[in-house]
Amino acid sequence: MNKTINQKAWWLILPVLVLVAFNAFIPLMTVVNYSFQETFGNNQFFWEGTTWFEQVLNSDRFHAAFLRQMLFTAMIIVIEVPLGIAVALTMPKKGPWVSVCLVLMALPLLIPWNVVGAMWNIFALPDIGLLGYTLNSMGIDYNFTQQPVSAWITTVVMDVWHWTSLVVLLCYAGLSSIPDAYYQAASIDGASKWAVFRYIQLPKMNRVLTIAVLLRFMDSFMIYTEPFVLTGGGPGNTTTFLSIDLVKMALGQFDLGPAAAMSLIYFLVVLLICWTFYTIMTRDEVN
C-alpha cells in the first residue's frame, strides 16, 4: 500500500509537545539537575556525580520503605482484583438496577483522596470512631495510632474500599462486551458455571484486567494522600511508604539532592515494572 508522506503533520502535535514539555519534561529535568548536584541556595550548584544515588541505594531507610511499598501494593492487588471480579460477576446485566449499581460503585472513586483519609481516620479512631469503638467494645484490642498491625490493616482496608470499585467497573465493562451467543453456545455445550468463567469470562476480561492491574499497581505504588492523612506514616515508620518517605526527605529535611535521586529511582522502578508486566500480558496477542 502507498502511504502519502506529509511531514507537515508534525506541526499539529506541537501544542501537545509544548504542554508536555512544561508539565512533565522540564520539571523532570529540574529533578535530574538536583540529583547530580549539591545546592545551598542562592542558585549555587556543586557537582556531586552519582553520590546521591549511591547514598539512597545503600540506605536502610530506602530499603525499608521500598519493602513496605512492595508489600502494600502486592496485598491490595491480591485482594482488589479477585474481589473486583467477583463483585462484577454478581452485578445485574440489564434492568433498572444496573444504573443503581454503577452509581454506588462509582461513589468511592468520586471522593477526594484526603477526604477518604480523613473519613477513615475518624471512622477508625479507637475512642470515638464507629469502627474503632465497636471493635474495642467487642473485646478486640485495636488502635491504629499505636499498633503497627492495626495501622496496616486499616490502610489496606481503606485502599480496598476506595479502589475495588475501579476494578469492578473495568471488569463489568469487559463482561458486558461478551455477546450473548457465547453464553448460549456454552449452555448448548453443557458447560458448568465454572467452565463458563474459566473459558469465556476470564479470557474475555484479559484486556481490562491488564489495565486494572496496571492502574492499581501505579496508583498504589505512588500512594501518598490517604495514608498520610490516616496514619501520617506511623506508628513510628511502619506505614511510611515510598512517597511519604520522599516528601519527608525533600520537604521535611530539605535534602534536595538525595530526594531528587530517590525520585528518579522511584520513577524508573515504576516504569520498569509497568513495562515488564505489560510486555508479559500482551505477549500472547502478538503471536
Binding site: 457465547y182 448448548i188 479470557p203
Partner: protein
Amino acid sequence: MAKIEFKNIRHAYPAPPGQPTVYALEEINQIWEDGGAYALLGPSGCGKTTLLNIISGLLIPSEGSVYFDGKDMTSLPTTERHIAQVFQFPVVYDTMSVYDNLAFPLRNRNVPENKIKERVHAIAEMLELTDSLKNRASGLTADGKQKISLGRGLVREDVKVIMFDEPLTVIDPHLKWLLRSKLKELHQQLRVTMIYVTHDQTEALTFADQVVVMYEGKVVQVGTPVDLFMSPQHTFVGNFIGSPGMNVLPGEIKNGQVSYHSHVIELTQNYDKIPEGKTEIGVRPEFIRFDSSGFPVNLERVEDLGRYQIATVKHAEDMIKILVPEEQEIPSENPRIVFDPEKTHLYRNNWMVE
C-alpha cells in the same frame, strides 16, 4: 434424528408497561420431517431467530408446545434437547486449542478421554480441520472458527438437530460457497435434521429441501425452492424470492374475466369461484414478454446485467419489470407486453386465491 412439531406456538416479548403486547410469533403449526434440511427465510425482525431459540430451548414460548419425535420439549432446558447451534458470529473458546474446543462438549458430559479422541479426530477429518488441531482457536480465520462451532455440535453423538443462525454473515464471499457445499455434504452424510436461518434467498434455496418463508411473525409458505418460485402463496414470497421480485399489479375480476386497467388478461387458472371485485395480479419478470398482441406500455429504462437484461416499463402509474434474455431485441417503438397465462397468479389481501 428428530421430527419437530410445533403446536399453536405464539410468542411475545415483554412489552413496555402501558403498551399492547406485540407477538413476535403468531400461531405457528408446523411439522418438520426427521432428517430434513430446512431453511427459515425472512427479513430481519420477522421472528425467525425467535422460532430458532424456541427450538433450542433458549426461549420458552408464551403459548403452545414444541415436540421432538412426539415428546414434549417445550420447557426442557437446552442441555437436555440434543441440539446444537451455530451462531451468526463464530463462538470459539479463545484460550483453548482447536482440539480442546472440539472436545469441550464431550468433556462437560464426562465422556472418557479415549472416546473423545476418536470422535474429535473423526469430526476434524470431516471438517478438514485435522492439520490445525493443535493450533490455538483464536488464531483461525472466521470460516475456520465457524467450522469449530459446527464441529462442537457434530462431535456429540446424541445430536439430533443442528441449527444455523445466519452462519455465513462474517465469512468472505468466496468461502461462503465452499462452506455451504460442506454443510450440504455433511447433511447428506449424517442425515441430521438441519435448520438454517437466513435472510439471503440464495443461501436458503441452495441449502434447503424445504424453505420456510416467514414474514411479520407468520409462516407464509413452506415449500421447495421451485414451489416458492413458481407459485408464491403470498405477495411477500413473490417479492422476497427472485431477483427482481414479482410484479404485483391492481386488477379486477368482473363477468368471468380478469382485467388490468381495462385490458383483459388471459389466464389458464380457473377463477370462476372467486368472487368478483378488486384483485392483485402477480406475475414474475421472467414470465412477461414483448409481444404485439399484448397491451401497450412505455419503455422507461433497460439495465443490462450481462446474462440478461431487465426492462422497466410503465403502464398507467405502474412500473413493471421484465426479464429479457441477453440476445433478444427490446422493441423501442410502441412496445406491447403479454403475461404468461400459466404462470400468472391472482391475489387478494396479499394471499393467493385459487
